[in-house]
């Protein structure tokens, strides 16, 4: 079934240029009414009200110049963790109630420069801590394929909105899989760029040595377009790399000849849902058919990744979230002295998962435990990084499942944090190693839930994984599917 509404960047640009049938205000008004209809069920946008579009249109030329910027007139959804000037940035937390950002994150400024319209605040797990989007102070996001299931996390709002056709594309963030896993759970495309490829300035930090901003889109080509606009050195982010940005769309084709793709044995072990394994194996066969050579490889330290990740990420988070004290911005509970006020403010306005992680991170850095936990984890991180360096000597990219399962039922894992953390096993490794990873739809379970294929590439080789993802996507039709709770199904 052909899509009736422009649900990709390419389609939106086409619709804009096909005058006189469409113009920007009418396209945006249509999108707004789709959001009005879908959002109550999915909860992918925080604080959504129709006025948003009017506000967005306020500063924008309703007749965009054709071909002016690669994203001219295209609305892009923004995860609630990214600062947009004069907008709230809740991070899906109550502790930032009342905060209005005085500045644009660098990625947002770059979107504007490309002509895009930052639109809406996409729901997420509070401070990006979670894998189901159930840790949002604004309520969970529901999966557009089955509302009893989660959208994944932490960029659940971004993935659900794009999958449901109520965001043309979105910016998410990925610290341990937060772009790739919800993209897989919702059946859309998610790219975690290499560490240092995209500026983090304006991204409210969860774990600074792991965080990256990346695109959540319907197609791989859209992901390439978005990455093209946001990548590159930023003088405001010391850790952004001063390395030329290649032409990502130029690399997209339909052949995989000459590429060697590795299958890490550890990612196909017991414990992976057989339906997930079956779909990923089929995708691997498709890549072979497209000309790629497939080899087996080993990443022996994979089994230590979750433990390593949760020590490092929570340690950094415990410091990053210390600034939320109710002195300069955000919510505050009064107290008899500053200490008392801090404790009450943070106890009242942080959610339970955030508290758990702050406590864990504080503990692993505390006197007497620092070396046994934090320092050891940093060393194991080196071993995990070296694993990848070795396999990327043997192959161009790796093919793996994104997650061991399809989207959980709502509430299924919320009471067991450890079980929840273990579900991140296939995604945290890329963040620890600083490499890039792409999630592409590769099928559905028998119950109709999407399954994702993960393509991992060496640092700064986004062009390679986009090329693989695109060729695979063109050879299959998973991306053309529309969920029952999305715009195509609901809007008349």
């Amino acid at each position: 079934m052909a899509a009736r509404f422009p649900s990709t960047i390419a389609a939106w640009r086409q619709a804009l240029e096909a005058k006189p049938r469409h113009n920007l205000p009418s396209l945006l008004a249509n999108l707004a009414s789709a959001i009005d209809r879908c959002n109550p069920g999915l909860n992918c946008y925080i604080d959504w009200d129709g006025g948003e579009v009017q506000k967005a249109l306020g500063g924008i030329d309703p007749e965009p110049r054709p071909g002016a910027g690669p994203l001219e007139g295209v609305p892009i959804g923004i995860k609630d963790v990214l600062n947009v000037k004069d907008q709230p940035c809740h991070c899906a937390s109550r502790i930032l109630e009342g905060y209005i950002s005085p500045y644009d994150a660098t990625v947002v400024a770059r979107l504007r420069r490309a002509g895009a319209i930052p639109l809406g605040r996409l729901n997420m797990d509070e401070f990006a801590m979670g894998s189901t989007n159930e840790n949002s102070a604004y309520g969970p996001v529901r999966n557009p394929w089955n509302k009893d299931h989660v959208a994944g996390g932490s960029s659940g709002g971004a993935a659900a909105a794009v999958a449901a056709g109520v965001a043309v594309a979105a910016l998410g963030t990925d610290t341990g899989g937060s772009i790739r896993q919800p993209a897989a759970f919702c059946g859309c495309v998610g790219l975690k760029p290499s560490y240092g490829r995209v500026s983090r300035y304006g991204l409210t930090a969860f774990a600074s040595s792991l965080d990256q901003v990346g695109p959540v889109t319907r197609t791989v080509a859209d992901a390439a377009t978005l990455l093209q606009c946001i990548a590159g050195r930023d003088p405001l982010d010391t850790t952004s790399l001063d390395v030329p940005v290649p032409d990502y769309t130029a690399a997209l084709g339909s052949e995989l000849g000459g590429l060697k793709l590795g299958l890490p044995a550890e990612y196909f072990a017991d414990g992976v849902d057989p339906e997930v394994t079956r779909a990923v194996r089929a995708a691997i066969d498709e890549c072979r058919r497209l000309g790629a050579e497939i080899i087996e490889v080993q990443l022996p330290h994979t089994r230590y990744a979750v433990a390593t990740y949760y020590i490092i990420a929570t340690a950094e988070a415990s410091a990053n979230l210390a600034r939320f004290d109710g002195v300069r911005y955000g919510a505050r509970v009064a107290g008899q002295d500053p200490l008392d006020s801090y404790q009450r403010t943070r106890a009242t306005y942080f959610g339970p998962e955030v508290k758990r992680r702050i406590i864990l991170g504080t503990y692993v850095l505390s006197s007497g435990y620092h070396d046994a936990y934090y320092l050891r984890a940093q060393k194991v991180r080196t071993l995990i990084r070296q694993d990848f360096e070795r396999v990327f000597d043997q192959c161009d990219a790796l093919l793996t499942p994104v997650a061991p399962t399809t989207a959980y039922r709502l509430g299924e894992r919320i009471d067991d944090p450890l079980q929840m953390y273990l579900g991140d096993i296939f995604t945290v490794t890329a963040n620890l190693a600083g490499i890039c990873g792409l999630s592409v739809p590769c099928g559905f379970s028998t119950t109709g839930l999407p399954i994702g294929l993960q393509i991992l590439g060496p640092a700064l080789r986004e062009a390679t994984i986009l090329q693989i993802g695109h060729a695979y996507e063109q050879a299959t039709n998973w991306s053309a599917q529309h969920p029952p709770h999305g715009r195509e199904a609901i809007q008349s």
Partner: protein
């Protein structure tokens, strides 16, 4: 782990219920991360960063900050251009 002591370091007050719940959950996680213990990492350099970067500086050039009104608009409590907090005891 003394969950109350650690929470205090992080300036979080916990209800009895939370303390009990977190104590169990976090102990569970700490038991799990023990699986790193058998690894011999004596000769392994720690990774603080996955980046091969050093010496990234900014030139010493000044520019005006934010307008004062905008800064104070975000303040939960302000007076005379200052952010107000409960009296600090020394």
């Amino acid at each position: 782990m003394d969950v109350r002591y650690v929470a205090h370091l992080a300036r979080l007050s916990l209800t009895d219920e939370e303390a009990g719940l977190f104590q169990g959950q976090l102990q569970h996680v700490l038991d799990y991360v023990q699986e790193l213990s058998p690894l011999n990492v004596a000769d392994v350099e720690p990774t603080a960063h996955a980046l091969p970067l050093q010496n990234v500086f900014r030139a010493d050039e000044a520019a005006p900050g934010l307008p004062h009104e905008q800064v104070m608009a975000n303040a939960p409590q302000a007076r005379n251009g200052l952010f107000m907090v409960p009296r600090i005891l020394e």
